[in-house]
Symmetry: C2
Subunit: 414 residues, 2 copies
């Protein structure tokens, strides 16, 4: 017998037919003798509909009331899944965030989970019952409804798994696992049997949006074993676990686990930056104060006393704001121009294996250079090498790197 | 300064534009110096949509989970109205049924309000705030969400008005008040400035569905002054008050306040009923046990020892079930046939004035007989005379009686 949290996303809950299918999956786990708690998202499209209502009601909507409105989507699907399970003869009941309770910080519309009371759930398990819990929502200390921000349902599921010391947190979604890269670009991309938290974080932040980044970070801190799998196809999925458990799933690790890409970065170049102490620092300080997340940074090496160029990337969504911030600094810092380019893509190779293996970056640069792909910027971390290139080379670069790192084999990795 | 509960129905809350209009009405009352609590329904059609989901999920849905699902409709509109009011610079906040709390019986999907805690609301009023409260919902003693059944939002509003000792409960709806009869049948029907609780109950139960019957009964018991008015037109509406207050609104009462009709009755006739003690009683007992509400009853006077015919009416919706119940009694009680007729209408004249005035019923019978309209059954109460006639005469009978009782004057009653 295992204790399992099962989480179903919006497409899995979109309509009664799909909810009935989900109920079948839940029933199967319960009949296998497992203790099951289920976390559900709102029906696909419903949260957007509710957010749109709030925006129309007032452009400066109160996040406290916004939470009251948008939390209703998960309330509906929780009740409907409980009803459906009962109709199949399964002893199920829903518990809202304020009923358990799921205690959060008071940061409405972007709350963090403080604690989840497991008492009610332990009672449900002891009576062989199944609890259905709305994701995304909780209750603040003042008794008001709170929500965790978009995609928060994954985080709800992982936090719940930690609270009840679940053996596993199964995240059912509309893809059947984590692949070595985007199968739309590389048809031979393989599904990974397992991946570490850190690799998943790097892959998620660079574009493989299977699991919400925040939930992966929480799973890593709490040591929750997460499985990503499809609610539409009966396939094994991908385990997301710690470095110490990864060997339970893979006899031998590849050096590189996957190739990711992210088109949501924009390049900014400041030309003619004077060679003065503190001028670069003042630029990044101003951007940080505006909550702009700067990623890749390249500075041309100036001859002493001569101006240089500074290039960096920001999220495309923050480009206009960044330009505003920089425009105000122009005179004070004394650079010439602000050049921007949104036709760029960040391509990354991610893998825990590269820690113990030099030459991964060099391999990447050579493979891209051989295809005449110009590298605009580079960043590296312990388990990731990323390059910024022109967007038109996205598919070519991903395919080349997928092959370069030996990920093109047939079948799934063992 | 007055303390007012304002309640808005589903058509008044159907979409952001209408909610914005509602917010304007609320703001006006607040700016006039009044203390205001607002009770809202779900958007028109939303509750039906949610109920349909529950039915599709399982034909035998758990009413506890049904309540979780359907209560979400009012949660959404409460939050949206609070947001809209805030956007207009009004200090507003929503409070769910479980937050106030509005305590109810545990009869899920048909709960009764036990008590409403006024503490939070008194705090809101003392800070010149406006509370927005979802109608239709509350919380049971075990902490589960409960709902009051269809149309329960009117009841929520009246109960809230009683709890906070409001001076008035304004029910905003899509009609602008209570009329002497259906204006679609009698274009000269007049809007009543005021009506007593009892008259309203009789008019509601016979077809003038402006206010939910249950809320009128509660208003009568608690002495809550209710005003029915349109949220779409800026007109005075109709006050619903006690006998002792009615004179504040009308110098002189008409004998008859209004003419109502109800097509949702079906006639049942049992022929050849043996003249045995207890046979009639056994029939009505069986129908009562099946929760069928028998209304008008006529028995032909038999010659001693000879069989007679028994005629009565039941709600059309309960006709099939009634026929089943009666079929089972046929042999035991020994009647011949069960004849049914759904092409009938109940037409009623209602008025507190008839208490002190004989001859109202006789006037009705003569007016109908003069037009050749055959009366199939009669019931009377202290303030109502009803007749059952063939449905094809509905409009003729309503017009004739409206004229007979002098309701055809121009303008509104004073």
């Amino acid at each position: 017998m295992a204790r399992i949290v099962m989480k179903f996303g919006g497409t899995s809950m979109a309509g009664i037919e799909r909810i009935r299918h989900v109920a079948g999956l839940v029933k199967r786990e319960a009949e296998a003798g497992n203790q099951v708690a289920v976390v559900v998202s709102a029906m696909a499209g419903e949260t957007d509909r509710l957010i749109q209502f709030c925006r129309e009601a007032s452009s400066l909507y109160d996040p406290r009331e916004y939470d009251v409105v948008v939390a209703s989507g998960e309330q509906v699907t929780s009740g409907l899944l409980a009803i459906t399970l009962q109709g199949m003869g399964v002893n199920a009941r829903s518990y809202m965030g304020w009923q358990l309770p799921i205690r959060t910080t008071p940061a409405h519309s972007a709350a963090l989970i403080d604690a989840i009371d497991a008492d009610i759930l332990e009672g449900v398990f002891s009576e062989n019952g199944i609890a259905v819990i709305p994701g995304f929502q909780g209750v603040a200390a003042d008794g008001s409804v709170s929500t965790l921000g978009r995609g928060g349902s994954d985080t709800s599921a992982v936090a719940l798994a930690a609270a009840i010391k679940a053996d596993r947190c199964d995240i059912y979604t509309d893809v059947d696992g984590v692949y070595t890269t985007d199968p739309r670009i590389v048809p031979g991309a393989k599904k990974l049997a397992a991946i570490t938290y850190e690799e998943m974080l790097e892959l998620a932040s660079v574009g493989a949006k299977v699991l919400q980044t925040r939930s992966v970070g929480l799973a890593m801190r709490e040591g929750v074993a997460v499985r990503v799998l499809s609610s539409f196809e009966d396939k094994p999925g991908t385990m997301v676990v710690g470095d110490d458990q990864i060997e339970d799933y893979q006899m031998e690790r590849q050096l590189i686990t996957g190739i990711a890409y992210d088109k949501n970065e924009a390049r900014v170049t400041l030309t003619g930056l004077p060679d003065k102490p503190g001028s670069v620092a003042s630029i990044f300080e101003a951007l940080a104060n505006a909550n702009v997340n700067v990623d890749m940074i390249v500075q041309s090496v100036p001859r002493a006393g001569e101006p240089s160029d500074l290039t960096f990337t920001v999220p495309t969504a923050a480009l206009a704001q960044s330009a505003d911030v920089l425009e105000k600094l122009k005179e004070k810092v004394g650079f010439n121009e602000i050049l921007t380019d949104t036709n760029v893509v960040k391509v990354s190779a991610v893998g825990v294996g590269m820690r113990s293996n030099a030459g991964i970056a060099a391999q990447m640069f050579k493979a891209l250079a051989d295809r005449g792909i110009n590298i605009l910027a580079i960043t590296t971390s312990e388990i990731k090498v990323s390059v910024l290139i022109a967007e038109e080379y996205t598919e070519l670069a991903v395919r080349v790197l997928h092959t370069t790192y030996g990920l093109d084999d047939n079948g799934e990795t063992a």
